[in-house]
Symmetry: C2
Subunit: 87 residues, 2 copies
């Protein structure tokens, strides 16, 4: 599982490529909130620029509850992109 | 088709709900670049807060080429979320 945050997209691309090169058949890219668009960028760059034999298998979205310091809660969208090597 | 841009999420939520209320069985929410996370927020808010009988049917991501004023090109990620009323 690769958690996408605020680093440059290429950091996460490298992490995904490394997992595939280490023998994983599936790699899950996960992000919340504004990082979601960066997760999509990561999947697209892996697929189009580095690993043509890898495809997007599944995309799930959901809502998570984040609790702030004062106990206040907020909803944030989340996304999981599962990539896999083509059969 | 609802194109998600830089307006508040609730603008797009209202647009989606209106399309369903006008009789559409499917509504497609589309976004590019940083607006992708707002498209996910839109789908989640529609489903969780307004229309419990609506679900996410499909999520597609892709890459589009944008051409700038000087003819320079850049890739941008895109996403389409298809929502539909439950059978």
């Amino acid at each position: 599982m690769i958690y996408v945050g605020n680093k440059p997209v290429m950091s996460y691309v490298l992490a995904v490529v490394t997992q595939f090169n280490n023998g994983f058949d599936d790699v899950v890219i996960k992000a919340r909130g504004r990082a979601i668009s960066r997760a999509v960028d990561t999947a697209e760059v892996v697929k189009n620029k580095f690993m043509p034999n890898v495809e997007i298998k599944d995309i799930k979205v959901g809502t998570e509850v984040i609790e702030g310091e004062g106990g206040d809660k907020a909803n944030v969208s989340s996304m999981e992109i599962t990539m896999k090597t083509k059969a």
